[in-house]
């Protein structure tokens, strides 16, 4: 039975392998037809920054992997507006379209989920 699963991404893309490995789990959740949402918050917003080149570190590009999410059926992508304002980020800097949520909207998003993980 499909569950509503929210992945909360708050880590930088290249400081550890955590971000890449979390995205792999999201892709699999998408393939297995779960009702997946993703919320980018805090430093996790840097995962969405355009012009990334993971090849410079000999690895994959996190932004490019995130770009594949819609192909895996993951289209509910949300981002924390207050975090973006703090980091000076907006639509023009990002490699993927997201829906911006304030804190109250994020609370409602969490309250709709069966499972929240990171």
């Amino acid at each position: 039975m499909a569950k509503r699963i929210l992945f909360l991404l708050n880590r930088t893309p290249y400081g550890a392998s955590h971000a890449l490995e979390a995205i792999e789990a999201i892709l699999v959740a998408g393939v297995l037809d779960q009702k997946v949402s993703v919320l980018f918050t805090g430093a996790g917003l840097y995962q969405l920054l355009s012009d990334q080149d993971g090849g410079a570190l000999g690895g994959r590009t996190v932004g490019k992997m995130l770009g594949a999410l819609p192909e895996y059926g993951v289209t509910d992508l949300f981002a924390c507006r207050p975090s973006a304002e703090r980091l000076g980020l907006g639509d023009a800097n990002l490699c993927l379209p997201v829906a911006w949520l304030d804190h109250a909207e994020q609370r409602r998003l969490i309250n709709r989920q069966d499972i929240v993980t990171s």
């Binding site: 909360l8 708050n10 918050t41 805090g42 207050p82 804190h103 994020q106 609370r107 969490i110 309250n111 989920q113 069966d114 499972i115 929240v116 993980t117 990171s118």
Partner: protein, 88 residues
């Protein structure tokens, strides 16, 4: 209780705090228990007792925060609808 939030480091509080719903509970675990030395607001607060005791915080826990055993931790998970884990 709607959501149980786990906070395992003081730095994780920054992400957790703005998203608390008054119906939620927060369990401070591991280094997150250092946060228990002050009054916190926005939800019902608990601190994991072995982590509190190990760190020498037993007498420093703010009276508004309840200490919780591992069995209490399981009961909190039982009585919530979902668990959100915060880490920095």
């Amino acid at each position: 209780m709607a959501t149980l939030h786990l906070v395992n480091k003081p730095a994780a509080w920054e992400g957790c705090h703005p998203l608390l719903d008054p119906k939620d509970a927060v369990l401070l675990i591991e280094d997150g228990t250092y946060l228990a030395q002050q009054a916190l607001n926005g939800a019902a607060f608990h601190a994991l007792e072995p982590d509190v005791r190990a760190r020498g915080l037993s007498r420093r826990v703010h009276p508004s925060i309840r200490t919780a055993s591992f069995d209490d931790f399981v009961r909190l998970v039982e009585s919530c609808e979902r668990v959100v884990t915060w880490s920095a």
